[in-house]
């Protein structure tokens, strides 16, 4: 078992290194000049510009800059922001909590919506409810998340006045962003739950329970769902990485604190170290979640364990 985990974690390392290379090269090839972003329009002599280039290490070769970035990243030193002159890791540390809360809340929304709608449409398979769920899922998945967010603001903030349209911190500001982000992921969960409930409904033990005279509702609630939900848990786990990335848009719509909003602002201000740091953190979360889900499979399903061990 330990071998399986170690193997999977080690396989993640080259991927992560590749990600840092792609990220670093992409950001260094850009035409904009970071020095002008640092100066933000202030007049400067060539000496000052030279001093700034040196201070931020921009005078060195790209491989040298990459090596420094990489070695520093290991010690959680992600450089200094051009605009605030604050350490990037500190800035991310202050904001990442808000984003993770949003992602977890959204995952909950996605799981609950998916399980309820998915099992309802599986039980009434091909009926009116099933059709209704399909149509709403189609509309939902076809709507860009920023548009869903704006709709929720219009309805729940301005018309009904239930939740604030913007802000962060309190629980009430979390509701609308979490729904926006969660709905975007709910379609996949709904479909998955529907399929796995249908599958479990056809198993022999369900027939046995019916024969025993158990009421249908009880069979579904106590026996079918419990078996059908296991694969769902892993998928919701897998979605977490994507949800962290989706926060970029949702946080901007709701002007909510977090690394997503930070990223958009940093891109606008050509603040490379911040862009680099935030994208790296999101990619690391994404990779780590994927590895964790892979490993959790082998706990849930022994067949996967042997396959991975041989693998």
């Amino acid at each position: 078992m330990g071998f399986v985990i170690a193997r999977r974690v080690l396989a993640g390392i080259p991927t992560l290194l590749g990600v840092t290379v792609i990220l670093f090269i992409t950001l260094r090839l850009l035409p904009g000049d970071p020095i002008s972003a640092i100066l933000a329009g202030a007049p400067a002599t060539p000496e000052v510009v030279e001093a700034l280039r040196e201070q931020f290490g921009l005078d060195r070769s790209i491989p040298a800059q990459y090596w420094e970035f990489l070695t520093n990243a290991f010690t959680l030193n992600l450089g200094t922001s051009y605009s605030t002159r604050q350490p990037v890791s500190e800035m991310i540390g202050q904001q990442v909590g808000q984003t993770l809360i949003l992602a977890f809340a959204a995952a909950t929304v996605s799981a609950v919506t998916g399980i309820v709608l998915g099992s309802l449409s599986a039980i009434k398979r091909n009926g009116v409810v099933d059709g209704f769920v399909r149509v709403t899922s189609l509309i939902n998945t076809s709507m860009p998340s920023f548009w869903v967010g704006l709709l929720l603001i219009m309805f729940f903030s301005f018309t009904l006045g239930w939740f604030p349209a913007t802000g962060s911190g309190s629980l009430s500001t979390l509701v609308l962003p979490a729904i926006t982000l969660g709905l975007a992921a709910a379609g996949t969960v709904t479909r998955l739950v529907r399929n796995s409930v249908i599958e479990v409904l056809g198993e022999n033990f369900v027939t046995a329970l019916h024969a025993k005279g158990l009421r249908s509702r009880l069979i579904v609630m106590k026996h079918v769902l419990r078996n059908a939900v296991i694969p769902t848990v892993t998928v919701v786990g897998l979605q977490l990485g994507g949800l962290v990335a989706g926060s970029v848009i949702v946080e901007t719509v709701f002007t909510r604190q977090g690394i997503g909003q930070m990223l958009v602002q940093a891109i606008g201000g050509q603040d490379y170290p911040v862009v680099q740091g935030v994208v790296l953190v999101i990619a690391v979360i994404y990779i780590v979640v994927n590895i964790a889900v892979d490993i959790s499979y082998s706990f849930i399903d022994p067949r996967v364990r042997t396959a991975l061990g041989k693998g």
Partner: protein, 290 residues
Amino acid sequence: MAAVDAAAFTEVRGLRRQLRRTGVSVNSALLYASLAWMAIVALAALIPGVLATDDPTVLDPARALQPPGAGTLLGTEQYGRSVATLLVHGARSAMVIGLLATTFGMLVGSVLGLIAGYLGGWVDMVIGRFIDMLMCFPGVLLALIIAAALGSTTTNLILAVGIATVPGFARVMRGQVLTVRGHLYVEAARSNGFSPARTVFRHILPNALAPSVVMATVSIGVAIVVAASLSFLGLGPRTEVPDWGQLLSLGQPYLANSWWISTFPGITLTLTVIAVSLLGDWLRDRLDVE
């Protein structure tokens, strides 16, 4: 969001299957509605003057924030321009980015997938690793960094969105080539002494292409949404006439009182994605792809 999400497509698939089973003719009605909608969007993209007679660049503060109905079909935004006119003129940018980004992603992705699947071995491993790495960036994020790095022009936006769709195409093509390569007619072509190029382009590619073509239709819808997202975030090209994403964000400060500015571009985007997904699924049936 594995690289680029195509969830809408899967929803469409199930819906059409169900409609077929229940024997409702809604199925073909939906198809014609989608065709009609895409025809309107295409017309708006090609000759916007036919659908909207007024000039989308003329600002008229006196007509600002008028509700739909009174004089203008869908109301006016804060600078007095008609929302309907802006939507018509925004269609070109959406279609150009959707089509060109998809073409780019399909070409690059398919070539990568074809090479990886046909050659196998270490080439396959290197390409596979590269694709895996691209996939570590969720779709929107990848497009976001590339757009930020290249600067916000239409061409760069096309590249950014296109690159984000590369991994998907590469995977589909690679899988397909692996299946086709094992068939007897490929073996026959090889033992006839045909050159690898002839084997690949005359025998493997035509038989491996269908899933990529279907994926391309879906990818157009996805590309339109990703491009609109970047525009919404302010990373799109700065043009005189706002595209759909920009129009949505123009309306955001006025949501409380002038709902129509954001609502109509939102509906337009959604309808376009649905229409593209329905047409893609129809194509999937015609090409007999599972």
